[in-house]
């Protein structure tokens, strides 16, 4: 842990801030007629507003009503985090379960599942969201049973169904990665040793292989998060959830976007950092997520 490492780590969030700032002022560079240069004073004004976040107001683009940004912003914040949490837990748990089950099925399944998963992975996420909504409506029309809340309105938001829909793509990704890792781990000597000692296959997988695989999976967490955020945007939009990404989509004033984006991405960034530190402490390997 050298000094330059610490320096680099301190500098990294700063780069992220610069990136978010550039994105937040980007709409100022377009107008109805094309590209434009907003002028330095307009950009300076944005910076000044960002420095006083307590007094920020957001304007509803359709009704033109102005409201204070705080504390209303915490509502979409929790909505988004809970949807993402549900999706993450469901997808990881079901992928683990299914891949362990597949280990007991014949080897023929492996190739088939891998190729099907690769194809499903490339299908646009909109398709999954819309098809699941169609299925829900169809079930409702056929049976009259509304077994899950469908879209959010005001206070009563649907969280479970968006979470489940959001979990589809991470599930496919997890399943593919875990199956590939299992195949690699099986060739390791420790698996041979454990099997030759007479341990049950399930015990070898759950106790010994799983530990190694979870560490390797954690290396990919940044990619998984980025996949989920992009997916979350469309899920929240179509399920009419008042979530963070929809907030970012609808309220385009640069200072509001900047503050909300920071508020949303900071916990995710910190979470990634925590994973990085845990990985460093347990495996003594430097990773940059």
């Amino acid at each position: 842990m050298s000094l330059s490492y610490i320096f680099r780590e301190v500098l990294r969030p700063f780069y992220l801030l610069v990136g978010i700032f550039l994105v937040s002022i980007s709409p100022m560079f377009t107008s109805v007629t094309g590209l434009q240069w907003p002028g330095l004073s307009a950009i300076r004004e944005v910076v000044e507003k960002i420095l006083r976040p307590g007094s920020l107001i957001y304007t509803n683009p359709t009704s033109g009503v102005e409201r204070d940004l705080f504390p209303i912003i915490f509502k979409p914040f929790w909505s988004s985090l809970s949807v993402m949490g549900i999706a993450l837990i469901v997808s990881l748990a079901s992928a683990l379960l299914l891949s362990i089950l597949l280990k007991f099925a014949s080897g023929k399944w492996y190739k088939g599942i891998m190729s099907v998963a690769s194809v499903f992975q490339t299908i646009p996420d909109v398709v999954y969201v819309l098809v699941s909504q169609m299925v829900l409506v169809w079930v409702y029309i056929q049976t009259g049973v509304k077994f899950a809340k469908f879209t959010g309105t005001g206070t009563e938001e649907a969280l479970l169904v968006p979470g489940l829909v959001l979990s589809i793509l991470p599930f496919i990704y997890f399943l593919k990665t875990i199956l590939a890792m299992m195949k690699e781990e099986e060739g390791e000597p420790y698996v041979d040793l454990a099997t030759s000692k007479g341990l049950h296959k399930l015990r070898v997988i759950c106790v010994h292989m799983l530990r190694n695989m979870l560490v390797r999976l954690a290396y990919q967490s940044k990619f998984i998060i980025s996949l989920m955020i992009s997916n979350l945007l469309i899920v929240e939009y179509l399920f009419n959830n008042f979530g963070m990404t929809v907030f970012l989509l609808n309220y385009t004033q640069p200072p509001v976007f900047f503050v909300t984006a920071i508020l949303f991405f900071l916990p995710i960034y910190v979470g990634l950092k925590v994973i990085e530190w845990v990985l460093y402490l347990t495996t003594q390997q430097e990773v940059s997520l």
């Binding site: 992220l16 980007s26 377009t30 094309g34 299908i123 646009p124 909109v126 989509l249 976007f257 991405f265």
Partner: protein, 337 residues
């Protein structure tokens, strides 16, 4: 390259894209992109028989919407914008990533590059479709007194912006792959023997990375489809959104009717029993993505097959009776040297 035409999957994908494109252009050039409309149908006695919406195969091939517009012709009309728009974004972003990424791989991680990579990593957190939506919104939504810009201008700007958004991750990937190859020992010996940039690129990078470039091009097109679909769902249609103002105005309508915008236009139909209005364009989008995958896989297979398995040219030479003056024994770097 000839065996590529013998692969069924490749052919299927290629035929699907070509048929849709040609059909779309024929529809545009000879039929002026007219959308047939069936407000009512009558039986042989002249009695009113049915009214729209018609389900697929009931009255027309893919059904109609509430007003009786035939969905099939919307699909046909939008095919060229969807496919050519996607491919334009993919090729432009791939080309830019190529021009930026490979020199970056040669430079081997300058200080500036690292900072740049960090700023770019914001793209992991903010989805590209969100950035594109915010950036393009002022230009793409029709203002009260009509668009001041032409359709071609808006499409060009949109393609460029989407391509630029897809460049950074691809460029970084290319730079990393390039510098990975350049670290290999045989490249070092090639450098020692005097190989410069262009030689290294042609003799060592291209053969090694050809397949990964095809993959990347496929990934870029899939990403482009994804972003265009997101934008379509957000009612920011490819080439601009026609917005109607005033009380009781119609919902926003697309201009180009690309497949993503048909989904966005009919989204409200999901709550009714007219699910085909969304299902059909979704199906075509999925078919398009699958065709792209099939084409990329086909090209990859034929590239792999055309690569020499083992260099046998030296074995066929007769070493015993070698004639040193024969040119095939020595490859001259410069003929006139």
């Amino acid at each position: 390259m000839k065996r590529i035409w013998k692969q069924p999957m490749f052919l299927l994908g290629f035929v699907f894209i070509m048929v849709m494109l040609i059909g779309s252009f024929v529809h545009a050039i000879f039929f002026d992109s007219i959308i047939p409309k069936t407000p009512f149908t009558y039986d042989e006695n002249g009695q009113l028989e049915g009214a729209p919406p018609f389900a697929p195969f009931e009255h027309s091939f893919l059904g109609t919407d509430m007003a009786g517009n035939h969905l099939f012709f919307y699909i046909l009309m939008g095919a060229k914008y969807t496919m050519l728009g996607t491919l334009a974004v993919a090729f432009l972003s791939f080309g830019l990533a190529f021009v930026i990424g490979i020199p970056l791989g040669f430079v081997q991680k300058a200080k500036f590059f690292q900072g740049f990579e960090q700023v770019i990593s914001v793209m992991y957190f903010i989805p590209a479709s969100l950035i594109a939506y915010k950036f393009l919104k002022p230009m793409m939504m029709e203002p009260y007194d009509g668009f001041p810009t032409t359709l071609a201008f808006r499409i060009t700007i949109e393609v460029i912006v989407l391509a630029l958004l897809l460049v950074p991750p691809a460029a970084i990937l290319m730079a990393n792959e390039t510098s990975e190859i350049l670290k290999k020992e045989y490249v070092t010996s090639s450098r020692v023997l005097g190989g410069r940039g262009w030689h290294l690129f042609k003799k060592h990078l291209t053969p090694q990375l050809k397949e990964s470039w095809i993959r990347l091009l496929l990934m870029q097109s899939i990403q482009a489809v994804l972003i265009l679909t997101h934008l379509g769902v957000f009612e920011m249609f490819f080439g601009g959104t026609r917005v109607f103002y005033g009380l009781g105005a119609e919902p926003p309508s697309p201009i180009t009717f690309d497949w993503a915008s048909i989904i966005g236009m009919y989204y409200d139909a999901i709550m009714t029993n007219m699910a085909w209005l969304i299902g059909v364009p979704l199906l075509f989008l999925v078919l398009f993505v699958l065709s792209l995958i099939a084409i990329a896989n086909g090209i990859q297979k034929s590239v792999r097959a055309s690569m020499p398995k083992k260099d046998q040219s030296s074995e066929s030479l007769d070493v015993e009776n070698a004639d040193p003056s024969d040119e095939k024994w020595f490859e001259l770097l410069k003929k006139d040297a």
